[in-house]
Structures are given as C-alpha cells and as structure tokens.
C-alpha cells in the first residue's frame, strides 16, 4: 500500500502520519514524498490516516510498480521482436543443401563447423611436439574449474581477470577467423 503526501506537507506532518501508520501495526518505508506501507492497512485504519493533514492519497498499490498485464505485454513484444529477427535472418540466409554424401569423393575445402574452427586451426598449424589433442580436454577442464582456479585472481586483481578473459576470447576468435579464411 502506498501513501502519497501533498507537495507542501511539512516534516512534522509526515512524521505524524508515519507514527499513525506504525501505531496501526504496519511497517513504513519513506521515499521522496511516498510512504510504502506493509502490510496494507484495513479500511477502518486507512480512513482516519487518509484524513490526516499532509496526506494527498492512500493507494492500494504502488502506481509505479508494473502489473502482470504490463509484464506480459513487454515480454510478448520482446519475444515477437526476437522471433521476427530470427525469421528475417533465416529468410535471408536459408540453410544450404549440397550434393548427396559421397564417401569416395573428398571435397577440397574441408572444414568443421565454426565452434570447432579454432581447435581445427591449432591441429593444422601447431608444431608436432605440441600435444594439440590435449587442448580441448584441458580447455574444457579449465572452463569448468574456473571458479576455483581463478578465485584468487578474480578477488584480488579483477582487472587482470577481465584482461585474461578478453585475451582468451580474442585468441579463440583470431584462430577461428584465420582458419575460416584459409
């Protein structure tokens, strides 16, 4: 429940209203000209408090709080926007269908799909002594265990932590890009 003060309400009037609400057994929270009341007052308590000097209105709910209708409209609108965007991209870039699979004929431009491009690039370019097959396993384990591994760094040097993450993402993207344009 919300109580709105008149613009000219004095500090004494505000304090008297808050005291009356507290006396009725509710907690109050004062924020710029508005008093949030919890639990709400019943009618018998609300009428005399609404008549106190300095009170402009006593409302059942905070008019600034969104209703379920507002939320549903906003969410539906955003979902339609996302779906529209996806349909637009799908219509402009339809999924391709190459010729039927032929295990006897190897195409010249072989590439895995994009999330694995960086790994494929490392496999193709790394010198023989680098244990490239270990990289995905290590990468996966590091990513899973990051909260434990990076805890000291993230707590003491957050900027270094961010820089490390940015460097890792940049390296991954650069490798993938180099492999994609090969």
């Amino acid at each position: 429940m919300i109580l709105r003060f008149t613009p000219g309400a004095t500090a004494e009037q505000r304090e008297a209203v808050a005291a009356a609400v507290r006396a009725a057994g509710s907690a109050v929270l004062a924020t710029d000209g508005i008093l949030s009341i919890d639990p709400p007052l019943d009618e018998g308590q609300a009428v005399p408090i609404a008549a106190l000097p300095g009170v402009a209105a006593l409302l059942a709910r905070d008019p600034r709080a969104p209703t379920l209708r507002d939320q549903l409209l906003r969410t539906t609108g955003a979902a339609c926007f996302v779906l529209g965007l996806l349909v637009l991209v799908a219509a402009h870039h339809p999924a391709r269908l190459a010729g039927p699979a032929d295990p006897l004929h190897t195409p010249g431009d072989l590439q895995p799909f994009w999330p694995l491009l960086a790994w494929y690039g490392v496999v193709n370019r790394a010198p023989g002594w680098v244990p490239v097959s270990l990289l995905p396993l290590l990468g996966g384990l590091v990513l899973l265990g990051w909260p434990l591994i990076a805890r000291p760094l993230a707590e003491r040097r957050p900027r270094w932590h961010t820089a490390l993450g940015a460097a890792a993402v940049a390296a991954y993207l650069a490798l993938a890009l180099v492999e994609a344009t090969r």
Partner: protein, 201 residues
C-alpha cells in the same frame, strides 16, 4: 464474472523484471522453445536413413510449404542459442558471479549448457547427410577421437562404429532429437532453480 476475475488477475502488481532482450537466461529459454517447435515440425518429414535423409531434407526444402523457412529458422536459432549461452557465460565471467557459492554451481551448469549447445549444433549439422554434412562429421569424429582418455570412446558413441556410416546418422539423430533436448530441458529447469537462489547473473 470470469472477465472481471481475469482483469483483476492481470492488474496484479508484479516485481519489475529485466527486459527479455537483456535477460539472457529467458532469451535462451525462448530460443530453445523455437528449436523444439521447429525441430518437431522437421521431424514430421525427416527420415534418419542415409539413402532417405538427403531426399527428405530436399523435400522439406523444396516441396513442403514453408519447409525451407522452418529448416532455416531451426538452423539460425541453433547458432543464436549457442551465442546466447556463450554471452551468458561471458557476463558471469565479467561480473565474477562465480565467486558466490550459488554462482559457482550456476557457472558449472552454464558451461555444461554451452557444451550441450555445441553438441546440438554438431549433431544437427550432420542430419541433412549431404556432402558437406558427411565430411564435416568425418572431421569432427577425427578431432574428437584424438582427445586422450575419452576421445576413442566419445568418437565411437558419435560414429556408432569405426567409421562414419548409416549407423552414425541414426545415432546423431537419436542424440539430437531425443537425448539432448531432455538434457537441455533438465539443465534449464536447474538454471531456473539456481536463479531463484541468486546464483545466475
């Protein structure tokens, strides 16, 4: 009577929520929903047999009304889902939400969902069984088999034998259409629970 009850219910105040476009968790759920719907439509026509798979995808693309759009939408949304999960993880990284105990569990779950989104794409991209899909599957199987300890086993699960064949297609279809969706559904339910505990950014 019902109308006024509905109006009263719709007029209830709710806690302010972040917009769907900024809430990556809810956005991922929406994209997963699109994948389920479009995937179910595609499954009505798709035949997971090497000789028929290519033909059935051709039918979907060329003959079925708006089939090309549903297929493309499924394709694009799969990539978008992977990007959204990666962004979700990047945000958890930048906000360092994994320093909280609930955030740690949420981080592990998000990494699991990222791997799952990659696995979804990997298995799905093989299903048209065209020249590109076949050879991409061969490369992926070779890459996976090189991983120490787990690689051989994973590649065998992936291929259903020593080489990519018709069994591979059936396996990939089963993983893509039956196993992974349930795993993703369970993961999203768990994410919702973690979110209520304050672990999700």
């Amino acid at each position: 009577m019902i109308g006024s009850a509905l109006r009263a219910w719709m007029s209830r105040p709710t806690a302010p929520r972040e917009s769907l476009l900024r809430d990556l968790g809810r956005l991922a759920v929406l994209l997963f929903g699109v994948e389920v719907v479009t995937g179910s439509l595609l499954a009505l026509y798709y035949e997971p047999v090497p000789e028929a798979a290519y033909r059935s995808v051709g039918t979907i693309t060329g003959t079925v009304t708006l089939g090309w759009l549903v297929r493309s939408l499924h394709h694009v949304t799969g990539h978008a889902l992977l990007v959204v999960v990666a962004l979700f993880l990047a945000r958890a990284f930048l906000l360092r939400s994994f320093l909280r105990p609930a955030g740690r569990r949420a981080w592990v779950l998000a990494v699991g969902l990222l791997f799952l989104a990659i696995a979804f794409l990997m298995t799905g991209s093989a299903l048209p069984w065209d020249q590109e899909a076949y050879w991409r599957t061969v490369i992926t199987a070779n890459l996976v088999s090189g991983i120490p300890l787990l690689g051989g086993w994973l590649a065998d699960v992936f291929r259903g034998g020593p080489e990519v064949s018709g069994t591979t297609l059936v396996r990939l279809f089963a993983l893509h259409g039956l196993v992974f969706p349930w795993l993703a559904f369970g993961g999203l339910l768990l994410a919702r629970r973690f979110r209520r505990q304050g672990g999700m950014p």
